[in-house]
Amino acid sequence: MRFFWVRAFVLAQLLLISGLLHAQPLRISIAIPGPGAASYFPAELISKIGADKAEGAEVKVIFAPGGPSAIDEMLHNNTDFAIVGLPAAMSVHLRDKRVVALAAINDLPLYALLVRQGLKGEIKSIADLKGRTIGLHSNSTVSKSTSQQVLELLFRRGGVPPGSYHMVGIGRRWESESLMLKAGSVDAVIGDEPHASHLQANGIAFPLVHLGDPETMRQFSGSGFLRGALIGRSDRIEVDSSKAETMLRIIKRTLAWIATHSAEEFADALGIANPDERQKLVAVLKKFPRQYSKDGSFSNKQLRETEIFFIDSQAGNPAAEHFRIDAMIIDRWAGRRD
C-alpha cells in the first residue's frame, strides 16, 4: 500500500512536469517604431535575453514607421501592446480612450534636429529653417507622433510658427532618413538615436539641437518627458488582465537586465554583427547611461513634465489643454515613485 502511494506521487509529479514542458507559451506581440531605434531596444532585447521564456511567454516584435502607426497596429488587433513615446500615445488617447500607459520604458528623449550637411554655415539656428522642408518619422492631421510634437515645440520656441515650414513623413528606417538628406529632398530631420549619431558620423547631417544635451533640456521646459512607454488597451485589460501582468513582468525583467549589464553586453545581446554599428551603439549607450527606466515604474515628476510638454506642444488644441495625464496611466503593476 505504501509503495502504491509513493508511485502515485511520483506519477503525479511526472505528469505535472510533462504538462509544464508541453504547455504552450503565452503569445504576446508588440508594435514598436523602428527598427533600430535606441529608445525601443528593450523590446528588441526581450526575446534575445529570454525574458519572455522566463515568464512562460513568447514575445514577437513588429515594426512601424512611428508611434501613432504602432498604436494603430495595436488598436487594429495586429498586436497586443505598443511601445511608443508617451506624448504620441496621449495624442491618440484624445480620440480613443482605450489607449492607456502601463509602464515607463525609456526615461530620456534623445531627439535631435539634424540639418543636411550641405547647409552647414547657412543654417545656424532654428529660425533659419523657416520655409524649409523638415523630415519626421510620421505625421498625421489627426494624431501627432512624438517627433512631430517635439519639432513643433522646438520651432515655436525658436520663433518659427507652425505653417511656415514643410513637413514630410520619412519613416524611421536608416535608408530613408539618410537618402532623403543626401538627395536634398529634406533640409533637416527630427530623428533620434542611434541614427542621429550615425548621420553625423557619416557626414550626412549636423546637429542643431539635441534633447539629450543638458543645456538644451534646461532651455526647453518639458523636454524631459517620458520617451518610451508600454501602451495597452483598457478594453482588453478589463476583460482579462493576465496578458498585461505577464508583459509587465517581462518588461521589468528586461529593464533589470539592462541596468545590470554593460553597454558592450547590451550590444552583443542585440546581435549587432557590424563592428562599426556596434561601436556606435556602445558609444550612444555610454553617452546616455540613464536612457532606460530601471524598473518600469512611473515617476510623478516625469509625468508632470510630460503633461507640460504635451500641452505646450499642442498649443491651440483645447482638448489637449484640458487633458490630464493620470486619465491614461495604469500603474497597478509598474508602480509609482516621486
Binding site: 515594426f63 497596429e73 487594429h76 488587433n77 520619412i170 528606417r173 532623403m180 529632398s185
Partner: protein
Amino acid sequence: MQRPLTGQIALRLGGLLLLVLFCLVALATWIKELANDRARAIQLASAREHYAVVLTDLDRRWGREAFNLKTRIEAQEILDASGQRNEKLLTYLISHGSSIEFPSLRIEKTNGEVIAAYDYARHVDPKVKLSPNQLNTWIQNADDGKLYLVIRQFIWLGKENGYLVLFKPMDHAMLTQITYPGTRLSLWWQGKALASSDGEEGLAKTSAGFAKPENGEQSATLSWTGPETELTPRLLVEMQASDLIMASQIARPVVLFFFVTLISVAIAFASLWLRATRQLDALLQADKRFGALGAIDESVAEELRHAQTGPVESLRQLADSLERHMSRPPAGSDSEGSSYPPRNN
C-alpha cells in the same frame, strides 16, 4: 381512504395550474427560440450580403490605387534612366507620402530581376510565381506567416516594359477595419485560418471551433472576389451577437401571466368554493346538533338559515327540506312542541 372534498379540489386546481405553467413555459421557450432563430438567420443573411459588397469594394479600391500608383511613378519618369532607379523611387515615394494600401512594392524586369523596391515599415519579400499573363495571386510569406494579395501590372521602364508588383498584407488589422460589432471575421487560405478581426485570440478561437470555413446556423463563408481557384481565400463570418430575446426577458411575462391567472382563479373560485363548503358544513352541523338534541334550538336554526342562504341551490333545497322534516312532530306524538328522542351518534 378517500380525500376530503377540499383536498380533492385543491389537488386538481393545483395540478391544473401546474399544467398551465408548463404550457406557458413551453410556449415561451418556443417563441424565444423561433424569434432568435429568425433574427439570427436575418442577421446572417445581412452579414453575408454586406461582406460580399465589402469584398467587391475592396478589390475595386485596391485595383484603382494600384493603377494610380503605377501612373504616378510612370509620370515622374524616375525609372527611365537605368542609374539610381532605387534611390529615385524611394525619394519619390517617401516625399509623396507613399501608399497606405500597398506598404511594399517591387519593380521588376520582365525576366524577374528586381531593379527597385520599397517597404513602408517592414521588409516583405515572399517568393512569388506568376505566369506571364497573370495579374494577381495570393501568397503566404514564410517570414511573418501573413497572407499577401500580390497585384502585378506592366510599368514602363523607359525602353521596355517591366512589372510593378504590389503587396497587400491580409492581416488582423485589415479584417478589424472592415468588421462590425457582433461579427467575427477570419480569413482562410488553403485550409488554415491566417487572420482574424479579433487578433490572435480570435484566430485561436476560430481555429479551435472550425476545421474548415463552412456555412452553419451562426456562420457564413464567402470566397474572395474573382475567379475561384484553390488559391482563393475564403472569408468566414461568425455571428457573435447575443440572442434577440434572452431567457430572463421571456421569463418575466410568463411569471406575470401565471400569477395573474393564479390571482384570477383565486378571486373567481376560492370565495365561491369557501362559501359552498361553509354551506355544506352548516347543514352537517345542524343535522348533528338536531340528532343530539332531538329538537331545533337557536343554534340549529342558525345553521339551517346559513345553509338556506348559501350559493349552492341543491343545498339550499336540502336545508329547506331538512327544516321541514325537523319541525314535523315525531310519529306517535299528538302534542306540539314535543321533540324527537336524541340520537346516539
